[in-house]
């Protein structure tokens, strides 16, 4: 099946117009020696056949496990209307809105997305989104280097190890000094941060809630980095901002995050949505697309891509970033989610997540040998210490139908018995009870 519109007769007619005798003749610029011979590919199939094959593959994935697994990627409920809107072909089969008069739908949606993100984070200006949270963090780090002209970055180890790995990968060809600060009792070590901060510090990168789920007021850390002329970059979890103090309220300079939790399916790791917001004064140093409001000749409100001179298609090798697109459709998903959930709903979802985590932590704490870490308050995810290797326990829990959490030993040596457990509004009291019983059973 090739979705080709023309008939043989039309092709003949068109060939005549081109003056070529055959389609193959149109390829004569390709030297004969370079023309590929036979391809070792399966023959084409009908929709029915492909569907059967893909349904079989889809069934060969354990999506029936009850998820207590998070790690920055969560099983939140997506209202049906959000996906219905995403399925409008006018949205998903359009290109980047280079012709504003023909792209007002996409452009206005991005403007509304930017607005919603500013209101959620308490920041002044948000871009049209980036690929994912990790690439957004890398771009934020690059921004700090450009703004300060310095090359040292202090990295809190409570920042997602997945993102720290990405950061190290992207900067391997650049001259950047990273200093990791250990987490103690779940919190950012102020004393160590104070020692490491100096006049070469471009930025500190912190996360709230941190990878262990702990919540903190990091205003003082932000102040510390500001005192040496550096920037504060914070990774945030958008759902948590229904309740928690915002990056804006803490005085953060660049806020970045993964937008999966607000309206995107887990989808085995992508496509996701990189969120980025900053202060107005740093807007020009911010990478990625930006939509601005303006008017047409008749005074009608309209939207355009603005400050495009920062971007690769004008600046080429001098661009602030090589990213030439955003995750427009994912940003639309986030916008429809935030619209449907609304001002009241975002607080409710956050509250449900936190309450269910509080309840689950009580249930797990009651299991002999299990100890929930209460060094600091947590939001929807918490650490519990098990009397056995967390990796083994998770393996046994799979057999009972649970994805029990994330064994922290994978990224934090010495924490082999620690399990990171996540709750969302979707987990019921009954599921939590069954989870606690199953865990007690396997220990």
């Amino acid at each position: 099946m090739d979705y080709i519109g023309n008939t043989d007769a039309q092709r003949q007619e068109m060939l005549k117009a081109t003056g070529a005798a055959s389609i193959d003749e149109l390829f004569e610029d390709i030297p004969a020696a370079l023309r590929a011979h036979a391809f070792d590919l399966p023959p084409g199939m009908s929709e029915m056949e492909v569907r059967t094959r893909l349904e079989r593959l889809a069934k060969n994935n354990a999506v029936d496990l009850v998820l207590f697994l998070g790690g920055g990627f969560y099983d939140h409920y997506v209202p049906s209307a959000a996906d219905a809107i995403l399925q409008r072909g006018e949205f998903y089969t359009a290109y980047t809105p280079y012709q504003p008069e023909a792209s007002q739908g996409t452009l206005q949606a991005i403007y509304e997305f930017q607005t919603a993100l500013c209101r959620l984070t308490g920041m002044e200006v948000a871009n049209a989104s980036l690929y994912d949270g990790g690439t957004a963090l890398f771009e934020a780090a690059m921004m700090a280097l450009r703004i300060t002209g310095r090359n040292k970055i202090i990295l809190d180890s409570g920042v997602s190890p997945i993102y720290r790995n990405m950061l190290y990968c992207y900067t391997s060809n650049l001259n950047i000094e990273f200093v990791e600060v250990p987490v103690y009792n779940g919190r950012t070590r102020r004393d160590v941060v104070a020692q490491r901060l100096d006049e070469d510090t471009a930025a500190i990168i912190i996360q709230n809630p941190n990878f262990f789920g702990f919540v903190d007021d990091l205003s003082d850390v932000v102040e510390m980095v500001h005192r040496v002329g550096g920037l504060a970059i914070m990774c945030f979890y958008p759902i948590s901002l229904g309740l928690l103090k915002t990056p804006g309220e803490m005085g953060v300079d660049v806020a970045v995050g993964e937008g999966q939790s607000i309206g995107l399916p887990l989808s085995f790791g992508g496509p996701y949505l990189g969120l980025m917001a900053t202060r107005k004064e740093y807007q020009r140093q911010m990478p990625g697309r930006l939509v601005g409001a303006t008017t047409d000749r008749e005074g009608r409100r309209g939207f355009v891509l603005t400050l495009q001179t920062r971007e690769q298609h004008i600046r080429r090798e001098k661009a602030t970033s090589n990213i030439c697109t955003n995750s427009a459709l994912c940003a639309l998903a986030a916008l429809t989610y935030l619209t449907l959930v609304g001002k009241e709903g975002i607080r409710e979802v956050a509250r449900l997540c936190a309450d269910k985590a509080a309840y689950a932590s009580q249930r797990l704490d009651a299991i002999p040998g299990v100890q929930v870490s209460r060094d600091a308050p947590f939001f929807n995810e918490f650490v519990c210490k098990l009397p056995a290797d967390a990796g083994d326990v998770v393996g046994h829990m799979v057999e009972k139908g649970f994805a029990a959490g994330f064994p922290l030993g994978r990224y934090y040596p010495g924490m082999e018995r620690h399990l990171l457990v996540a709750l969302t509004e979707r987990r019921t009291k009954e599921e939590i009870g069954a989870f606690a019983e199953a865990l007690e059973g396997v220990l």
């Binding site: 020009r284 603005t306 495009q308 001179t309 004008i314 600046r315």
Partner: protein, 128 residues
């Protein structure tokens, strides 16, 4: 500033000499080519600039252009109004749209610049 009293570079900067100091800006031709200045990156007062070195930039919706120092010297004043009102350059590139003042190091450098008549011919010869 009257355009006929200014000296010019091939890259469309103008310079108006006032004793050992000079005011610098971009020409109306440069403005017409850029079409709507949206942002000006200004030099800093006290900064030393060498002739031909980029010292500021102007941005339109289409492009970013460097502004190079027409002569060597030290920046003695900056038109800070441009930070909030870049359109001052469109409205009057020789008046409210001046960019900075430079205390000249070598008056001899000015001899390499064009006078108004030579600059007019230079612009006419440019392809459309």
């Amino acid at each position: 500033m009257r355009p006929e009293d200014c000296l010019y570079t091939q890259e469309h900067e103008w310079l108006h000499k006032e004793g050992n100091e000079a005011t610098v800006g971009i020409t109306d031709y440069a403005v017409s080519q850029l079409g709507g200045i949206t942002f000006v990156e200004l030099p800093e007062e006290g900064q030393r600039v060498g002739k031909g070195e980029p010292m500021a930039s102007v941005e339109s919706v289409k492009a970013v252009s460097d502004i190079c120092a027409p002569a060597s010297g030290t920046i003695s004043a900056v038109n800070t109004a441009l930070a909030d009102e870049p359109q001052l350059i469109d409205e009057g590139p020789y008046e409210g749209g001046w960019i900075c003042k430079i205390v000249l190091e070598e008056q001899g450098e000015l001899e390499e610049l064009m006078d108004a008549e030579a600059y007019r011919k230079h612009v006419e010869a440019l392809p459309e």
